[in-house]
Symmetry: C2
Subunit: 344 residues, 2 copies
């Protein structure tokens, strides 16, 4: 049994979507047990009448919500009644709880994970690794997507090792093709950081390094993991998301712009629906935080029940497939990585 | 009359597209004169039978092509018979030539512009500023998109001032809303570079500063100019382009995937064609290099005749509307900018 704590506040559709997602996850997988943090009364109301195995669900009353405006370090220290901080503290203190899912403020979650959960031995900095759909039906991971706006070549190598393991262990990708995000594909492109990181990635035997890549290839399906600093990774992921959303909006608008267009849209309904579904990020779970002692998943703020259930399943798979012990092993066996070995 | 030198080699469809674009530009605007650099014989063959004012077109024989694999500084010094280097040298030496258009290797063009053309007094570093279509029918500029992978707050302020002027003078945007690309919209987001740049942009009275923006809003139409370092800007522009191209490819594939879909597509032809046209970067000209003593436009490598003609028209507008004198004036009058005043 894998026990996961789910922060039920902080998302756009919280707590209803979180609670519904928890129920779906419990019903889909008999090996999962959940602890829900949030307003107990409200959660109980949302659970009323729902069918699920009650022995695998527990509620912890923590009715306060953390927002992006709060100063992360202050919140982690003082907002002990918030659903997120309570979940973080539970993950820290309760050995039986193995993973956490939250849709709440990213900065607070990151600070909480670093300060309270701590890094795996040898890991310099935890990193976010969301996964996006490619247009040939596969997926691509991006590590780091925002936890570290400043980077070193060593850190980029660690992101590559952790991300590559994640793509294998949790996303089922064999021998992931790892690319370094750069301003051109040729070796020697970019600033010193990227030139040095290129060398480290190329020399590392534990990686299937595919060289530099340009961001125009992000959805091409030519790569399984994109390695980058958190600033560029953030730009990459949000631009892809934003462009997809705006284009689909435009398309939907045009498809209903006239009687003729509506008729055309009707004929295309099946094929378009299939493709829209493929592009819906809710089907790909959340952004895993790699390098922390326990598994932490940050779900999209706008997640619906299906998105929350995917995050829970993702956390379960990471625990079941020994993601963290494997990360610890590879980081510490790889002679190229120079983790400072000190842990918070 | 504005005299512009056009490098006729180096693009995917060169020299045919370049030559056809030159003819179109001459026919569209009687106030333009062109110098074409490239293989003279081949250019003459392509011009044969075409209608245009021959007194406004001149050919300079320089049949060698520069590629992205060449070391920029070597090329600029030694490849004097290449169409690009000849064009750069002409722009440097011939006072009557006021601007240049090239589709060739970006790195070489940038090096040539910096080493041979030189910066405007007060400008620290030239920057690229491509313009992309937004989905509400407007445009948005991105400065810098790749000339400077490393930046300082002062440079970002200069990019903002130059880009804002460009959006006004060449793209016809009144009082451009300038945003700083960041990992979140709140003040205080990002690393020290972005925190410091935010302050400078906010304090600068010559700018209509709209605060931080996230890259998911790039196509929203909420901003007219996005200010960023060249690495993130490159990621931003190429991700947007790549995502649009991949999505449209997918759409086209689906629209012809079955008889029913084809019928639907037929009904939607008019509305989709209009939108595809709106998204076609060929209609928006090239990426201007801001801060050099003379106007340099880098067209997309895959430009067709229409793209080349747009670049020429863009160069013409920049010269006619005094872009460079205005940039020099604003950079040197703005007390916040600390250009080193030294020029190469």
């Amino acid at each position: 049994m894998v026990k996961i704590v789910v922060d039920c506040l902080g998302g756009d559709n919280s707590p209803a979507a979180n609670v519904a997602g928890c129920v779906d996850a419990l019903n889909a997988n008999g090996d999962i047990a959940l602890v829900l943090t949030g307003g107990k009364e409200e959660i109980e109301k949302l659970l009323a009448g729902k069918e699920y195995d009650k022995s695998r669900l527990e509620i912890v009353d923590a009715p306060d919500t953390v927002t992006g405006e709060d100063r992360p370090t202050d919140v982690i220290r003082s907002a002990k009644n918030s659903s997120m901080v309570r979940a973080v503290n539970m993950l820290r203190e309760d050995d039986s709880v193995q993973a956490m899912v939250s849709l709440g403020a990213t900065g607070v979650l990151l600070t909480g994970a670093v300060l309270r959960i701590g890094r795996l031995p040898g890991v310099e900095r935890p990193a976010f690794c969301p996964v996006m759909p490619t247009l040939n039906g596969g997926v691509v991971g991006v590590c780091d997507s925002g936890a570290n706006v400043e980077c070193t070549p060593d850190r980029l190598l660690q992101f590559a090792l952790m991300g590559s393991l994640y793509m294998q262990r949790v996303c089922g990708v064999k021998n992931p093709r790892v690319a370094l995000l750069n301003v051109g594909v040729e070796e020697g492109k970019g600033d010193d950081l990227h030139k040095e990181a290129y060398k480290l990635l190329k020399e590392c035997k534990a990686l299937n390094f595919a060289g530099n890549m340009e961001s125009r290839d992000v959805l091409s399906g030519n790569y399984d993991l994109i390695v980058c600093d958190g600033f560029s990774g953030n730009v990459l992921v949000k631009t892809t998301e934003g462009t997809c959303i705006e284009l689909l909006k435009m398309l939907k608008r045009e498809l209903t712009s006239s009687f003729k267009a509506k008729m055309g849209a009707l004929l295309l309904k099946g094929t378009l629906k299939k493709n829209f579904k493929k592009l819906n990020y809710q089907n790909y779970g959340g952004s895993v935080m790699l390098g922390t002692k326990k598994v932490v998943i940050k779900g999209h703020g706008s997640s619906k029940a299906i998105g929350v259930a995917k995050c829970i399943e993702q956390a379960y798979t990471a625990v079941k497939n020994d993601l963290n012990p494997e990360i610890e092993a590879i980081i510490n066996s790889n002679s190229n990585t120079k983790g400072d070995m000190q842990n918070v």
